[in-house]
Amino acid sequence: MIFEGFSQGDSLLHKSDTRVKLVGAMALTLVISLCQSFFTGLAGLVVGLILLFLSRLDLNQVLIRMLVVNSFIGLLWLTLPLTYPGDMISFGSIVLSKQGIELVALITIKTNGIILFFITLLATSTVADLGHGLERLRLPTKLCLLLLFSYRYIFVVNQEYQRLVRAAKLRCFCPRTNLHTYRTYGHLFGMTLVKSWNRTERVGQAMLLRGFHGRFYTLNEQVMGKGDLIFLIIILIIVIGLVGLEFLFT
């Protein structure tokens, strides 16, 4: 399951205001995801690496996460150069497309840059803080509550599902490719759904009894400090710089 492995620490990025990090990550991601030029992409990757340095996260852990994402990109490397229309380069019997290779290289650079932004800016906060941060950025309360509750109860729902699977296994259930297996899985999912529904009703009641009326209050009134403001300004300057680069090279 998910653990907030990167959220604990005392680096500059861990201590920054969540709102600043949210806005920063959003702006950087927007520019890098839309850019067409290699230079902008590379510059974004460099920014990501600088942030990684600042966040002082365990590099091995970060590398593992990067590998997971890049395994998907590996699939693109296998397909795009062979299928994308454009100038042909032939290596013996294999014919590759120049534009295809360029495209997949750009995607690789951009993706890694964006993943680094997310790891360094967002994963350094707990999900709870992100939820509150989003709410204080005036996002609809309902969406923020959805995020917070999904995160809180995904573990419980998973546990409930695992409990059912265990119960099935203990009665010698062994998944095979047959109707009995499909039906059993149907029951398992259905039961999990029903149980989750019942639980939401009980949670709703528990909240009602403690006076909930549609709004979450937070205990951590984060105050934007001078440092946060400077950090925000620096990130925004970098974003403008990246946009400039993009226009210069395309």
């Binding site: 009641q205 528990a206 009894l209 205990l219």
Partner: protein
Amino acid sequence: MTQLPLIKLQDVSYTYSGATKPILDKINFTLHEKQHLGLIGSNGCGKTTFFHIIMGLLKPDSGMLFFKGNEMRNAQHFKKLRQEIGLLFQDADDQLFSPTVLEDVAFGLLNLGVGPVKARQIAIQTLGDLGLAELEKRITHQLSGGEKKLVSLATILAMQPKVLLLDEPTNNLDSTTRARLIKILTELDIAYVIISHDRDFLAETSQKVLTMTQGRVTE
């Protein structure tokens, strides 16, 4: 007793839709100030329903419910009642929904309009009183079963209720946590009703144990 009872149920009946027999059949019940009651009964005999009726989560088909002598009829009445009666759910996971322990304990207070600074202070105080101070920063879903139960009790006590309703509080508790719960409850200065199948636990925590059978409460 000359004083008005805290909670009084008069001929309260309730039937679940689709059921042929009423689960609560003209129930009569009174709870006085600082009274500690135990309630025992077979599975599915309506004990939890009984609590839910008191809290206004379910609306009785007939009969009257009084809190401090006033009849509870509409949502406004129950809103007030819920500030003074706390219900501890059977499953602590239903009760703990905030990310951290401290936030969950402060949740009710913040809803009642207590400011963040004061709410934090009361929450820390409540956790400290229950010997849970070290759990303050923990993530709620990572607590052990016993810790969850005690923390959910803290979330209710933080609201400083006059009455506590506990729904099978000893389910899945180890003997240490169970002993801790007994100590906490016997030291409480407020009235409470405990639903439990654990007769020894009730003997240690209640002044009187009532039995629930066929939709009625008897001594």
